[in-house]
Symmetry: C2
Subunit: 206 residues, 2 copies
Amino acid sequence: MTNGARSADQIYDILSQRIAERALAPGASLTETVLASEFGLSRTPVREALHRLAGEGLVERGARRAFFVRRMTAADLSDLFESLGEIEATCARLAALRMTEIERDGLNRMVTEMPRDYARHNSSFHAAIRAGARNQILATLALDLERRSLPWRDASLRASAARVEQSRLEHRAIVEAVRDGDGSRAAKLMRSHMAGSLSTISERLG
Amino acid sequence: MTNGARSADQIYDILSQRIAERALAPGASLTETVLASEFGLSRTPVREALHRLAGEGLVERGARRAFFVRRMTAADLSDLFESLGEIEATCARLAALRMTEIERDGLNRMVTEMPRDYARHNSSFHAAIRAGARNQILATLALDLERRSLPWRDASLRASAARVEQSRLEHRAIVEAVRDGDGSRAAKLMRSHMAGSLSTISERLG
DNA sequence: ACTATAAAATATGTATACATATTCTGGCTG
DNA sequence: CAGCCAGAATATGTATACATATTTTATAGT
């Protein structure tokens, strides 16, 4: 995620990360010339990075066509989180139909062991499901939406120990459905798992 | 779809359409300088359009980082069509849960009348379902994937009268499920409807 | 003839200057 | 004082020149 020979790619990665971490807050302005001098480059690669971010919905344009970090309404956020949940659910359904026995066993081992780093574990779990779905495009869409949703997640909720335990239980239930080859149950469980994991930030919507 | 004040947008629209119509065949090279002189513009807006097309997967890069119209393997096509089908199915499920009575009645009228222009009718039908799903992001994803799949559809199949009649029946069944508020049935029917409508071109994959 | 190597060709990557469009500001006018 | 019009300010849009990277081609040596 962090490399690309071209300066434009590096700028894209850096800005993308800053937005995800909210080092660049929603509504912050991103002007080509300012960024160019900050990075010690010309406007050209900065411009390319900004257009790319705009195409992915992380950045918007307003007066004087200036770029700024996207502000989202509650409805926008709801749509975004729901979309991500639906796509992950679709992947779970397909994974239930398509994973090999070996993959199913691996997935099962993953959720029965006690994870040390939950964030990492969670990421691996979802990656395994997406891989099991055998559809590169759906996997890419899920990753894009996830990145797009990062600046809007409620970090405090993620950290909660109770929430982590709850998530572990949900993961296990999903894996059980996958092992049974029960696609629609896997999808349903994944949908509600995502709905619970993703939570909007009610205050300061941008 | 055809307007945008900026030259870069116009170039994007034109190239996008040419690729969809296969006026630019898969594998055709798109060099910035050639296109620039063809459009009577400089490389800058052409460059922007090409990068945007590349980001959407219509165009790829190869030797010398040159751009060319994307070639797809059978597996790529299968993933693309499946993704589109799954997202439309998701929209159908949500529409079954969320459409108003008025919308359901409108949808029902749409599929009981005999359409004069089937392509137009089909497009309206899917648009209505997407609108009923009440999720702007899913709707946009569906439109993007549809545009991306256009160059690869088998036109001969679409024209078939038998196929049109079959589609009409499938539309009616979907509407029935939507009217019943039966989301999972609507999704299932939409999924198989899409699988039947979209067909890969086995010869000349690019 | 074949291989290695260096130079040319070719396409994009980047920098910079200028064009254009839109907002903001200030002063004029009613 | 309100409203409007002109011009400055500001940000992106476009054009063009130059840099860089990679592939092709030509050539020399064995």
